[in-house]
Amino acid sequence: MTTADITADDMAGALAEATGDTSLLGAGLSAATRLEGDLGLDSLDLAALGAVLRDRYGTAVELVAYVAGLDIDEIIELTVGDVTGYVNRCRPARRRAERPAEQPQ
């Protein structure tokens, strides 16, 4: 791994764990895949996904709080890329630790 940023594939793994649906692993998720419109996730699925992301990427990742801050159209259009972007923004400390060359001090 050249980067610590999580990708759509990582999200597929987290979603499969959260929903128990392993078919998501081979479903070809991309950054543009919508959680609600394309994957049919509801609020309970999102809560389960939030728990998995917290376990995997640290307690700073609070997906439910992030979604609570979105307006109605942002939730409808929420994509895999939005969530990976959010998770990556939550982890600047880890990024600095793993990529010291990019953060010269």
């Binding site: 078919s23 609600e36 994957l39 049919g40 609020s43 309970l44 979105l70 109605i72």
Partner: protein, 381 residues
């Protein structure tokens, strides 16, 4: 004798609960009039019912799920329906002069017009959405819904701050109990009466029901016909290998499943209340009417919620221990079969369903709803 005007929507789960309550009011010697779509309510109520027609607005079968479905429910149905009904509900109240107006929680015009005329009104909470505030977790979605309501109120000339057409300040009757909602800090004028049930007369070939096998009823209700075919195919594939011990009855147009497995009956409708005592479990989308009828008979469920309050209802049933939730759009036949077998074989699910049944019986159902309406009017005199 008191006079009640019922304002409700031409939707099975909403209208049938109102009819069950109206029948109890009539049995107690009160007079009941209706305001709603003539094309829907005249056949349901019969030729002798007093009916103030609102005209009929066609309800497009909704697509989508989740928050997108919630948005379209408000934007494309509830708010336009309220606007459409306002003038005829106004005429009905002037003509009938009821002692109390009884308003389905989503028949917003009834609440607005009753308020304008200074009439006391009761809410029939026929859905789970507005009772336990599941949208509290999504404050900006909640704010969007409130903004739709506020703009409707203003349009209808109701400008009092704090007026909420979803919840009567006088009396709110909810068709559930704390066995499902959990202990909640409900206001004192909220009463939870359990299930209010009305039989749906339907021709049914009882001779095709095999008493030797266990029986599952599979229904996604009357609203989701566009999504039903794919789910019913997966459900049929789920039950087919269980043919030796299980018979399934799928409710839907028979052409939805042209070549069903041998242990699957596909029928357009069922006499639900007559059939329920013979059922071992129900697979459903989690419409509150179907779920409450099922639990009122102590029958556990497998729930595949699609949208609106259905995920909320499913979560309540799971928390009560009376069923298992599966994902509607993704559940595979083997997963559905596993959920079904678990609910059938583990007696804990039926025991939990029977606990909900007992709480419904203690709550009194439609008769208790009628008694609360009656006492409110008597106390107001």
């Amino acid at each position: 004798m008191s006079r009640f005007l019922i304002v409700t929507l031409p939707l099975t789960g909403h209208a049938h609960r109102a009819v069950a309550v109206a029948n109890e009011l009539s049995a107690r010697g009160h007079e009941v009039a209706w305001c709603g779509s003539k094309a829907y309510f005249r056949p349901l109520l019969g030729p002798d019912a007093i009916l103030f027609p609102t005209g009929t607005r066609l309800f497009r079968d909704q697509a989508g799920h989740g928050i997108a479905a919630l948005k379209s429910l408000w934007q494309e149905y509830l708010i336009p329906m309220a606007r459409f009904m306002l003038p005829s509900v106004d005429r009905a109240m002037l003509a009938y002069r009821p002692d109390m107006v009884v308003v389905d929680q989503h028949a917003l015009a009834g609440a607005l017009v009753a308020h304008r005329h200074g009439l006391p009104w009761a809410t029939l909470a026929t859905e789970a959405m507005e009772l336990t505030h599941p949208l509290a977790a999504l404050p900006r979605v909640d704010a969007w819904v409130r903004a739709q309501l506020a703009s409707l109120c203003q349009e209808a000339g109701v400008t009092e701050a704090g007026f909420d057409p979803l919840c009567s300040p006088y009396l709110l009757i909810a068709f559930t109990t704390s066995a499902l909602t959990g202990e909640q800090p409900f206001p004192g004028h909220f009463v939870l009466v359990g299930a209010a049930m009305l039989e749906r007369p339907a021709a049914f070939a009882w001779e095709l029901v095999d008493p030797a096998r266990r029986k599952v009823l599979i229904t996604v209700g009357t609203m989701a016909t566009g999504l039903a075919a794919d789910f019913y195919q997966r459900a049929a594939a789920a039950v087919a290998p269980l043919a030796a011990t299980l018979q399934a009855i799928i409710v839907g147009p028979p052409d939805l499943l042209p070549d069903p497995p041998g242990n699957v009956l596909v029928v357009p409708s069922v006499p639900m209340l007559a059939l329920l005592p013979r059922l071992d479990t129900v697979i459903s989308h989690g419409g509150m009417n179907t779920v409450c009828e099922t639990l009122a008979h102590g029958v556990p469920l497998v729930l595949a919620p699609i949208r609106h309050d259905q995920p909320v209802v499913a979560a309540q049933v799971v928390r009560a221990g009376a069923g298992i939730r599966v994902p509607f759009s993704r559940v595979r036949p083997d997963q559905l079969r596993q959920a079904l077998v678990t609910v059938l074989d583990d007696p804990a699910y039926r025991r939990a369903a029977m606990k909900v049944r007992d709480s419904f019986a203690a709550a009194g159902g439609a008769a208790a709803a009628a008694a609360h309406l009656e006492s409110f009017v008597q106390a107001a005199r």
